[in-house]
Chain length 854, copies 2
Amino acid sequence: MYGRYTQELGVYAKEEAARLRDGGGLRRSTSVRSRSAELLEYEKDPCAKCHVCTSRCQKFLISRVGEDWIFLILLGLVMALVSWVMDYAIAFCQQAQKWMYGGLNSNMLLQYLAWVTYPVVLITFSAGFTQILAPQAVGSGIPEMKTILRGVVLKEYLTFKTFVAKVIGLTCALGSGMPLGKEGPFVHVASLCAALLSKFMAALFGGIYMNELRNTEMLSAACAVGVGCCFAAPIGGVLFSIEVTSTFFAVRNYWRGFFAATFSAFIFRVLAVWNQDEETITALFKTRFRLDFPFDLQELPAFAILGIACGFGGALFVYLNRLIVECMRKQKTINKFLLRKRLVFPAMVTLIISTLTFPPGFGQFMAGQLTQHESLVALLDNRTWSRQGVAEEFDYISHSHAWKHPQVNVFITLIFFIVMKFWMSAVATTMPVPCGAFMPVFLIGAAFGRLVGETMAVMFPDGIHADGSVYPIVPGGYAVVGAAALSGAVTHTVSTAVIVFELTGQISHILPVMIAVILANAVAQSLQPSLYDSIIRIKKLPYLPELGMGHHEKYNVRVEDIMVRDVRYITLSSSYRDVQEVLLIGQLKTLALVESTDSMILLGSIERSQLQSLLSLQLGPSRRLDHLRRHAKDNDTHTLDTHTHLSNLGTMDNPLSPPCTHTYSNSTSNSARHGVRFVVSVAEVSRIHPTHWLRVLNPLPQIAEWEEQQLDEPVDFNNCKIDPAPFQLVERTSLHKTHTIFSLLGLDHAYVTSTGRLVGVVSLRELRKAIEGSVTVTGVKVRPPLASFRDSGNNTTNVSDVTELHKLWNRHRGLSLPRDPTPETQNKSKLSTHTLSHSNTYLFTNIQNNIPKT
Amino acid sequence: MYGRYTQELGVYAKEEAARLRDGGGLRRSTSVRSRSAELLEYEKDPCAKCHVCTSRCQKFLISRVGEDWIFLILLGLVMALVSWVMDYAIAFCQQAQKWMYGGLNSNMLLQYLAWVTYPVVLITFSAGFTQILAPQAVGSGIPEMKTILRGVVLKEYLTFKTFVAKVIGLTCALGSGMPLGKEGPFVHVASLCAALLSKFMAALFGGIYMNELRNTEMLSAACAVGVGCCFAAPIGGVLFSIEVTSTFFAVRNYWRGFFAATFSAFIFRVLAVWNQDEETITALFKTRFRLDFPFDLQELPAFAILGIACGFGGALFVYLNRLIVECMRKQKTINKFLLRKRLVFPAMVTLIISTLTFPPGFGQFMAGQLTQHESLVALLDNRTWSRQGVAEEFDYISHSHAWKHPQVNVFITLIFFIVMKFWMSAVATTMPVPCGAFMPVFLIGAAFGRLVGETMAVMFPDGIHADGSVYPIVPGGYAVVGAAALSGAVTHTVSTAVIVFELTGQISHILPVMIAVILANAVAQSLQPSLYDSIIRIKKLPYLPELGMGHHEKYNVRVEDIMVRDVRYITLSSSYRDVQEVLLIGQLKTLALVESTDSMILLGSIERSQLQSLLSLQLGPSRRLDHLRRHAKDNDTHTLDTHTHLSNLGTMDNPLSPPCTHTYSNSTSNSARHGVRFVVSVAEVSRIHPTHWLRVLNPLPQIAEWEEQQLDEPVDFNNCKIDPAPFQLVERTSLHKTHTIFSLLGLDHAYVTSTGRLVGVVSLRELRKAIEGSVTVTGVKVRPPLASFRDSGNNTTNVSDVTELHKLWNRHRGLSLPRDPTPETQNKSKLSTHTLSHSNTYLFTNIQNNIPKT
């Protein structure tokens, strides 16, 4: 009974064990099953996926294009509705708070309580609801989407529960008036929506919607929809989503994003028109800057300085955000307390922030009573707020009165607003609620831009333009530039420029915006990772970091420096015991198949699950029964135990007996699915107490003996699926190129070969370690001694190389010509790990176009 | 003297041959050399490239990022200057024509002659100049850039001559006032500029600018600059250039394009300000549509219809353009005539077009006197030209009077303009001058949009809006939408939407523009290839066509259906004779290296040039001399001929004798460079008259004998660079996936393997054939008999597969366990071509992210 259990067999084994032995065996076997079931959850995925792919690819592709349109239209429609309803609900929440606050204006204390309680309740509800329903809904969602689009399966991030938690949690969080954003979560919501829509349509119209690869494609369109319908910015949405989620982008999938985002933005704005909020479709934050002379050429230095300052500000924001999270984690007492009382932290943060923004208190100096939307509309106003340093001519529009304080200059208000909002946003976005940071940062950027603009307006009251006509400076233009630059710096994107044009409905400031955004990006990228990459690092998501712009040492690191030389492999002549051992030691999902230990010629790779099913086939119940029956026939004198055992097994062998036949047919048709379970349990158990386990579950010594025999047989690869062309690199491939290839092809691991011979393996883990820990890589630690000799032997074939090559060549000649095993062939695996390395830079000289260049 | 010649040796051989034999041998040898020199031109490239890459990669990468900025700034600056100066020159040319035309208004005939002669002269000059200096400068340049960025080396397209020809030719062509565009050629000019700048900086600052791979990266930034500074549209420029030139795009190179294009657009507009043409930096074709209510929701159907119509129009334009070219090619008499008199065709076309646009003639009905710029400004006017069908309220701005005709309705003028310009543009862009089609198409689109807009204005004189306020329809908005839609349909891009926003400086019509562009693209893409792909086909450029949206049969074709099964390969035990034979037969640039003919295990690939240098080393002059000297010592009785020969050779063997040592040191240090030449000549000659050649140039029978001996020796791979990991596919890889991988990695060819064994090869040629000739592929012709059985054996391992696998497995067991050659191993290459095919769909299941999905 060497670990072959379906549920029925398991039940049987338990009963059997209970009858034969004491309770100890029983307890052990159950605990084993539950652990193996856990492992199974992990292992089932890749296997199941492959089956879906191979069998459904064909069908789905044929009818694909037509359904893409329908799918994208549906996605756009649903997301526009969600966005609109959510906006409506948020506006309602905020209105309710204002109404409460306004209604209680007789009593300051009551007013304060109302002002503070409302957001605390909402945020606490949001945090609690998310925590209970789906903790995956917390945070922005862009880092997770980036990881998912990279090819990593984070299944629980795309469930219906997460969708509900995210939408309701986000609505409450934004309704509270905290400095939180909608964009990031909306990317996640749109992806969730796409995933669910796929499932729904699969249930409705059959399997063509089940293809996993297609879903990935749709997810990247969904990200565009998320941004698109959040800001009614289709073009910016597509570009932003490409920039934040992709490394390489297939231009032929471009239209999908554009189509879906446009449709979504259109419906989103049409809903506003139908609801009589707007007269027609216009931009979300429409500006009215003058068209004929938007800015003077001599203002450009000011815009450039604004951009550079925003670059530093963006880097600071990312740093601050990470610092807060890391501080809380490192402080063990805080950490423990927060882990026990999860709702205390968001409630506390909300309390502090809402206290500080309480309009009759501190809030009066920082326009505390305004919502984000109102603040932004005010900041993008085309009128100048201050002249000569005082706010006399301040022509108040509906919301702008909040910016005016009888005693305090408008500059002080702005500075106060910027400073307070800066740290508030950085803190607020660490709360465990669904929230993004884009909009708060955008707002801070706009305020900073407005500050610079107002300063310019004071310095040059009649504008800078020298010739006759007077064109006063437009501080609103600076606000637009600042908003784009700061959000670009925080997210490391250039497309925020396009988003502001679409948000404001004016493109007249295109050049200042572009200049500021590029400068901000240059500064921020050289100082800090983007906010999303920072979160990826904090959350330790399995993502390949980008190669920074300034890290030149990466070009000197080669695959041979970082690869794992001790590769787990199977040869064509391996025995089942070898397979078992390899499975027990290694944790890689696939294992290399080489010709023989001598030659090490890489033939392909085999998935772990395939090997597990091979092993379970070899030691399977039918073969086991065959053996037992043969044994029974040969040997008439057997104990009562064996007899009972056999008779029980005999009933199961009966083809009409449902549990067994059902089980077995399953494990052949679904190939690995059920087979995995057994072997996993074997593996698991053997790891705990190999011998004890054998004794416990193998009452018959002859079975154990038989198993030993079986394990010594060479593996029969007939029923095993082999990937005959796994991705290969050579030792001299640079880290930079390896990174490119990995991210281009979404690889998980690659084998390192030298003229066909396997010499190492590189997985994402090594690559990530090498990129992140580049300091150690440049030192002597990681580099092998040979690395330092590299540069000298670049051009000409040096002597040692020739000798090594000669040996290799001789060996091969010896092998293929006289065809007898000379003593030289015995040590062939030792030589020429480095033989051809000087020529290996040849790899991919034909990859000219897309792969950037070592 | 078996084919080892430098120039000096060649001269020597000629003299020798002349002395020894009659003139026939001499003539033969010269003709051989010239042909081999031709071949050398072709062969030199890949080899030289590799050397540059490998040796310079490291140096260049270290100091790379900083210099990128400098390079991009310089590129932007130069291109902005070129663009501005060219615009100035074009405006001057057009002004001159107007002045001539205006000055002669007393005599209609003279006026006509002036109107017609001027463009004919300019176009003829442009065509002649381009023809003489650099015929590569003809046409748009985007198709060529697309091909170059795909990895194909079209060297002559990036020379200084081409630059001069393109700039001057383009200026003249555009100055003539023909319906030609600036955008496409400007992409080419910018790329030329980038290539030349690289060379210049390489000459100035050393080799770091010589890296070919880096240049490709810079070229894609240059394409963005080209569009960016042509239209002062940085964002649209980047997106447009990505869409028309790339298949896969690396997001991390994004900033390069944005930075350079922004800088270039900025300088371009700053020059206009400094020249006092403009007061400040604004859009090129600034519009002044009202901001508060740009369009009504109910106008959207009209915009959608406009988009669909533009889609059909775009497809028609591409078709018409191709039809004209193909007609001229097929009509042999026309073709012959045109080939002889190359300038007649452009002159004729110009004559016809300018006659038809002669303002007092037909031109009066189609605003013939306006330049493209003036027409576009007029068409984008925010006023309505017609109310109630007559042009009474037509409020004339400077240029618009051309649109008004006393007798003829403005609608007639517009229709006439559209129809005439449509075919004129299609014809004009086939002229052999540097010219693009974007701007003419853009203009036609604007006119068509204006037509629809004016019609709408007539139909709804008070606007559609139902509620109180009257918002009249803005026909200029329709013109913007039409321009974006038609140019998007012709080029198959979505980013024309962004270009129009940047051109007009207004983004208020974003939703109509996006909807129309997407619809136009959907229609046009389903009917015709893009204009650039059409030109690629016409010019038969080596480009991989895109997989169309509707061609589902591609998903059913697999690599095994299209691969070449008869692969040329070399084994580790090959003799030099085998290498020679392979080189003579095959034309592939690289050859597969397998372990042995039996095993066929792929070890790597070797470049043709490497093999050629191997061969030339083996039969090299020094070894030849060694042999001769040894032979001379052994054998004292030799003829006079031999003596003369030897003494001559003796002088060359002297290490101080410059020609020979020079030659030989060259051929070792530069490895293949000079070596190639010899072997090519051998190959070439042998193809003509192998035996005769040997007789002619090998006066000594013992030399021939020696050569035969040398050829029979097994190859020494010591001095040969081997690419140890060429790209591999498996038989079951679908055409769709193959296409993706080829375009993603810019591959030239890929080997098809089955568990390490080489079974075929696929090159771009097969792939292209399969994609273009998909009709035959779905039939029985191309598909092998096995193909039809495929779908049945998808899920389970069928019997025949198992048997085959079993054989394979047995063979390997037999090989690796007892290690002796059994008879079974003799026929191993025959089996299992198909053995593992059912599992080969495993390939790249981990490529989830970027590769779209079979």
